[in-house]
């Protein structure tokens, strides 16, 4: 008899979150489990709580009640340890524009806990993979939007994290760069990295994600494999599913 051991990479239980000064809960008794090796997409209309949930999972926001565990480590009590487990690609460019990609990677690599030799090796490798070797010493401020997105991604994966959080990682890039980024993310996932992704670009999400959760008004409304969700809701694409579940009315 063969046992298939399925482990949760991220486990969220009865999570509540309210912004300071606000009377309304933005995350309301939310529970969610993301399994190791998932390419997990979190979608929802504006203001649904996607970015807040992402910030809670990365420890950027402190939660008032409930539990979030990353690879079995409760965020609240293992803040430093969990920071070594994941990488984060924020929607904003999170690096120093005055520095070159190599200099940014050197700095953020050190902050991620890498040694000098590891930084040197990973920098060369990632710049090569993301086609940035020719501009490794050019200040990022002179780069196009697509190149900046690649730098943003390269820095996040410097320390080869087990979980990679991606908040709109391809905003404002051309089709070529988008495919290149998605292909790279898939290759990372094949090597074992769990991807947690959010975007409004649903065609791209359809291509990348194998598991999907829809969030609305601070709670998960559906959560299953993309294939099952499309089948269950009689939809042929993520966009149709999204509209079917969240409606067509403005949300902000």
């Amino acid at each position: 008899m063969t046992y298939l051991l399925v482990t949760n990479t991220i486990s969220i239980q009865n999570l509540d979150f309210t912004y300071k000064g606000s009377a309304q809960k933005l995350i309301n008794n939310l529970s969610l489990h993301i399994q190791k090796g998932d390419r997990f997409g979190i979608f929802g209309p504006n203001g649904a709580g996607k970015t807040t949930l992402m910030n809670l999972m990365t420890g950027l926001l402190p939660y008032s009640s409930g539990s979030i565990q990353l690879l079995g480590n409760e965020i609240k009590t293992n803040r430093n340890k969990i920071k070594t487990l994941f990488g984060f690609v924020p929607q904003d460019f999170s690096f120093y524009h005055e520095l070159s990609p190599a200099e940014n990677m050197e700095f953020f690599g050190a902050w991620a806990g890498l040694h000098k030799k590891q930084i040197k090796e990973r920098t060369g490798e990632l710049l090569n993979i993301l086609s940035l070797t020719h501009v490794r010493d050019t200040p990022v401020k002179n780069f196009s939007g697509g190149m900046k997105r690649r730098v943003n991604l390269a820095i996040a994966v410097m320390h080869e994290p087990e979980i990679l959080f991606l908040d709109e990682p391809t905003v404002g890039v051309d089709v070529q760069t988008r495919y290149a980024i998605i292909d790279y993310l898939k290759s990372l996932n094949e090597k074992g990295t769990t991807l947690v992704y959010t975007s409004h670009h649903l065609k791209e999400a359809e291509d990348l994600c194998n598991t999907v959760a829809m969030i609305d008004e601070g709670n998960i409304i559906v959560h299953d494999s993309l294939e099952n969700l499309l089948k269950d809701h009689l939809q042929d694409g993520l966009e149709g599913l999204f509209l079917n579940l969240t409606g067509r009315a403005y949300r902000d």
Partner: protein, 426 residues
């Protein structure tokens, strides 16, 4: 340590790529030091070496008024100009209005007669007290006539006061001389010999000025010695613009999000900025001191005398730099925008410089400001520097100045950490 080193390297790279900011940080204080020292030095020379041009309109033209002109010349403060074309007070006003002269004195008609009459009257009173018979014809009024001093409104009060002092001194000499002559004449029935008159009138007690120093320095403090430390401190604290903005920029940019998700304490970033900018302030001080010592003499300005206790100078500079960096970081942490950091930073430094005695000497501060002055870190920096540059003291001598400076710096550190906690950055 590798994390800290990488962060310092990052901060240095960012700093050195901001060429304009870097130029301003070094050029601004150098320009200030040169301009202010040159201006103060020329004022000093005007009063002490070049002499003040004084226009005299002598309506009297008799012995006593001519004697007064000579006495004014002897004071050594004035460059006397008696223009014959002046016919009346309006001519003088025209000269002043066109700034040919900034001050002019008018000696009234019959000035000599009046002074002589006054001398006789005073003598008579003195002799009457001694029961010595005096000339009954001397029973006249002892009122003297006014000397009118015209001045251009641009002349500051302190400047006018020193001019007035010089003028009073000359008048005193002339009037005393004629009183002495008159007294001698009554008593001895003959004119006073010149040698005796000189002995009586001339000052027998010359004043020697000695600058009090702890290190037996014999040099006279000059405008450079006063200005270089003051403007060095000003420059150090003006890093608030660059460092405060840098902290705000980091807080507002996306990089803070990534930094907070990495397994390194955000405090490393703050410590790195402090170290980077302390090094900047040390370099600023080195550049300004070097300019004071080597470039100023070539520009005709007095050279800066570097204190003999170099280690004390280094410690004070280091403490001033640390305090300046701590202040700037506090501003950066509490400001919500770069505009807030720049505006408040610049204004607060000018205010702290003003109450700290950098713009107005601390001894000249009103008593109500004496307490506020002690709250300004710039005041303690300046006092510590003056202890080394002007008094030639050592570290022990300036201990009472660096202790409050250190206390203020530590308080600023606590305030910065409190701000970081409050803003959920650590």
């Amino acid at each position: 340590m590798f994390k800290l080193w990488s962060t310092i390297l990052k901060d240095f790279r960012i700093l050195t790529r901001d060429k304009v900011g870097l130029t301003l940080m070094f050029l601004m204080p150098v320009v200030l030091a040169i301009v202010i020292t040159s201006v103060q030095n020329s004022t000093f020379e005007l009063v002490n070496e070049n002499k003040i041009p004084l226009l005299i309109y002598n309506k009297d033209k008799k012995a006593v008024s001519i004697e007064l002109e000579k006495a004014l010349d002897k004071v050594g403060m004035f460059n006397i100009n008696t223009i014959d074309t002046i016919k009346n007070g309006d001519d003088i006003k025209n000269h002043i209005n066109t700034k040919d002269a900034l001050i002019a004195a008018v000696i009234p008609e019959n000035y000599s007669d009046k002074v002589l009459q006054k001398a006789k009257a005073v003598s008579r009173k003195a002799l009457k007290d001694l029961d010595i018979p005096a000339d009954p014809s001397a029973a006249v009024t002892d009122t003297a006539m006014n000397i009118i001093l015209y001045y251009h409104p641009v002349l500051q009060q302190s400047f006018r006061k020193s001019i007035d002092g010089g003028l009073q001194s000359a008048l005193q000499v002339v009037q005393s001389k004629y009183i002495v002559q008159s007294l001698y004449q009554y008593i001895n029935d003959e004119a006073i010999p010149d040698s005796l008159e000189n002995q009586i009138i001339s000052n027998q007690t010359p004043v020697q000025q000695i600058a009090v120093s702890k290190g037996n320095m014999h040099g006279i403090p000059n405008a450079t010695q006063h200005n270089i430390p003051a403007w060095t401190i000003f420059a150090m604290f003006f890093i608030v613009i660059s460092l405060g903005s840098s902290v705000v920029r980091e807080k507002l940019s996306g990089s803070i999000i990534r930094l907070r998700t990495l397994p390194t304490h955000f405090g490393i970033s703050i410590i790195s900025k402090e170290i980077t900018y302390i090094i900047v302030t040390l370099l600023q001080a080195a550049v300004i001191f070097a300019i004071g010592k080597y470039l100023f003499p070539k520009m005709g300005l007095p050279a800066l005398n570097i204190p003999h206790d170099i280690s004390a100078l280094l410690i004070v500079t280091l403490l001033c730099g640390w305090c300046a960096a701590s202040f700037a970081i506090c501003i950066g942490i509490f400001a919500n925008t770069q505009e807030q950091a720049n505006g408040f930073g610049a204004v607060s430094i000018v205010l702290l410089a003003a109450v700290g005695g950098l713009l107005v000497p601390s001894f000249a501060m009103p008593s109500s400001f004496q307490f506020i002055m002690r709250l300004s870190p710039l005041h303690w920096c300046l006092e510590a520097y003056y202890g080394l540059f002007l008094e030639e003291g050592n570290l022990k001598d300036i201990f009472t100045n660096i202790t409050p400076l250190l206390t203020i710096t530590i308080l600023l550190q606590f305030l910065a950490w409190y701000g970081l906690k409050r803003k959920n950055l650590i």
